[in-house]
């Protein structure tokens, strides 16, 4: 497959189509509108459905419908729009439905702004909707990963029958890079639970999150958490960069990880042993890699486009063995490599 030049948002859309998604429902919001725009151009040409819903809430419930029928469906939005979808996301989780939700984050809270942010970390990883549930959360750090992790998200969602979220940010959505698109697959769902019509040959399948008997609802929650444990054991992913001999370990995902890599290159030039753990899955969080690093490093620097939402996951993973400092910019601002370098130096010199 030859490489093409794509925006991150377009790469998500094309990769979803190639993964067999034929149902996209959305509502425009900057900085993710290119996903919808791309889908509106491509879906009619391949017999798929592009639908601009009347609201984000309608869009997520349309996803619920298609997912119930066993097909690959997705919606995308940016932070305020994803807040609106939370009820529907909780229902997807409560019905054990696989689906993809894309959040190309912008500054918040409230209407915030259109510039990049990572401040929906809590919402994505701790469950923004109600009830005991998790999403599989993937965090791409290149246009290539925007494509690859879209496919991965659909696969994991199907494998574990749970919704997955691609958590990107405005820069990842808008930036252009060469990308090798994944091979197109003809999607053949194997979902005996799906609502596809009985043809009078089998019992009805029912997709529902309402349980009238509390014992049954309790049991359902317990079973779901057993599943989550399996996901946590098997699916945590991260990239380690120069961590073997690192004294200071930066932890960063998405756009923050790219800036951090540049800071680490500079730190190494100056003789400071810095490394990076880049979570690729934010839930499950790559605890094991952090725990192992804690035995070797002086401390961690969490680089984020939020007010330190990831820090508590780092601390939990390393049992508070080593200090964790925060280097962050918010509101649409991005930490510079110089700011990250200073945070690395402060941690290295014990000035935290």
């Amino acid at each position: 497959m030859e490489k093409v030049l794509m925006k991150g948002n377009e790469a998500i859309a094309e990769a979803a189509i190639r993964a067999g998604c034929r149902h996209y429902f959305g509502y425009p919001i900057t900085p993710q509108t290119e996903i919808a725009a791309y889908m509106s151009k491509r879906m009619p040409k391949i017999g798929g459905t592009f639908l601009q819903a009347e609201s984000e809430i309608s869009a997520i419930n349309m996803v619920y419908g298609v997912a119930s029928a066993g097909l690959r469906a997705m919606t995308s939005s940016s932070s305020p729009g994803v807040s609106l979808k939370q009820e529907g996301i909780s229902y997807l989780a409560g019905c054990d439905l696989p689906a993809l939700i894309v959040n190309v984050q912008r500054g918040g809270p409230g209407l915030g702004g259109i510039q990049p942010s990572q401040s929906d970390y809590f919402q994505a990883t701790k469950g923004g909707g109600h009830g005991d549930y998790h999403l599989i959360v993937l965090a791409p750090a290149s246009v290539q990963e925007m494509a690859d992790l879209t496919v991965k998200a659909f696969d994991l969602a199907d494998k574990y029958r749970m919704p997955a979220m691609l958590l990107a940010d405005g820069t990842m959505g808008q930036m252009m890079e060469p990308v090798e698109l994944p091979e197109a697959v003809e999607y053949k769902p194997e979902k005996p639970w799906a609502v596809t019509g009985t043809e009078n040959k089998r019992e009805h399948n029912i997709v529902n999150s309402l349980y009238l008997v509390p014992e049954q609802l309790e049991q359902k929650n317990i079973e779901r958490y057993e599943k989550y444990r399996t996901v946590a054991e098997n699916e945590a992913m991260c990239e380690e960069y120069m961590t073997e001999d690192a004294d200071v370990c930066v932890v960063a995902f998405g756009i923050a990880a790219r800036v951090s890599k540049n800071a680490i290159t500079e730190a190494r030039k100056q003789g400071i042993k810095a490394g990076l753990i880049r979570p690729i899955t934010l839930w499950p969080f790559p605890k094991e890699a952090i725990r192992k690093a804690a035995d070797k490093v002086k401390g961690f620097v969490s680089v984020e486009l939020s007010m330190g939402q990831m820090i508590e996951d780092i601390r939990l993973a390393e049992d508070c063995k080593k200090p964790v400092s925060l280097c962050c910019r918010v509101g649409g601002m991005i930490p510079s490599p110089e700011e990250v370098l200073k945070a690395i130096k402060d941690m290295e010199g014990g000035k935290i």
Binding site: K3, V4, L5, M6, K7, E10, E14, T30, P31, E34, A37, Y38, K41, G107, G112, G113, I114, Q115, G170, T171, Q174, M175, M176, E177, P178, L181, I255, R258, V259, K261, N262, T265, E266, G331, G332, I334, S336
Partner: protein, 224 residues
């Protein structure tokens, strides 16, 4: 480097993400080498990030006037153009470069200025083509986009610019393949291929006689 016969007004339009803004900035800088008074106007009402305004400091330092939405690069996504924009087409004492937003949706903003440009009749309306973009991989795709833009913008193209690139992975072969497709597009549309834009370092290795050398802005997310 190709010798360009400059018009009073040069418009860059094309498919979303084909490299119009970068071309417009480089073209304005080139114009400034020959003319005292140059203005660059950002008519992009589509793209929220990565605007002409990113090069504001450079442009101003070379004495180039920049007209852009006062909301560009702000936290507001407000597709409005400043009133100074009329001056770009009405005040004929300056050389002007117009950076049009992507696709037909971007070109709608051009509609109200097009009559002035057509009436003056001293312009290049250039179609920027990057054949590495997935929705314009072929001359046929590009021609479709070209027609959509003309109909939305109310003005016809009169030239093509080959800006085929794969960002940092561009090779001479990428450029040659783009040139070939551009020539095909030229044949299909009846419009001349004005030049081929190539990043300055790479252009040393490109054996073509119609190269326009480009400087590409470094972004904060580029890996060192």
């Amino acid at each position: 480097m190709i010798e360009i016969e400059f018009r009073r007004t040069t418009l860059f339009a094309g498919h979303y993400g084909s490299g119009k803004t970068n071309l417009a900035v480089n073209y304005a800088l080139k114009l400034r080498e020959s003319f005292e008074s140059v203005v660059i106007a950002d008519l992009d009402i589509v793209n929220p990030y990565f605007r002409t305004k990113d090069s504001e400091e450079l442009l101003r330092s070379r004495g180039i006037e920049i007209i852009s939405s006062e909301y560009a690069n702000s936290n507001v996504d407000f597709p409005a153009l400043p009133s100074e924009m009329y001056g770009v087409v009405q005040n004929r004492s300056r050389h002007a470069v117009l950076d049009i937003g992507g696709d037909d949706r971007g070109a709608y903003a051009l509609g109200r200025f097009a009559p002035y440009i057509i009436e003056e009749n001293d312009y290049d309306m250039l179609f920027v083509a990057n054949f590495c973009r997935p929705l314009t991989l072929t001359p046929e795709d590009a021609l479709e986009v070209m027609r959509e833009i003309e109909s939305a913008g109310g003005i016809k193209f009169n030239g093509i610019v080959n800006n085929t690139n794969l960002a940092a992975l561009t090779t001479p072969k990428t450029v040659y393949d783009g040139q070939e497709k551009s020539l095909k597009l030229s044949k299909m549309s009846g419009l001349p291929l004005k030049f081929t834009a190539v990043e300055r370092e790479l252009s040393k290795a490109v054996k073509l006689n119609n190269v326009f050398e480009l400087d590409v802005q470094k972004r904060y997310y580029d890996l060192y």
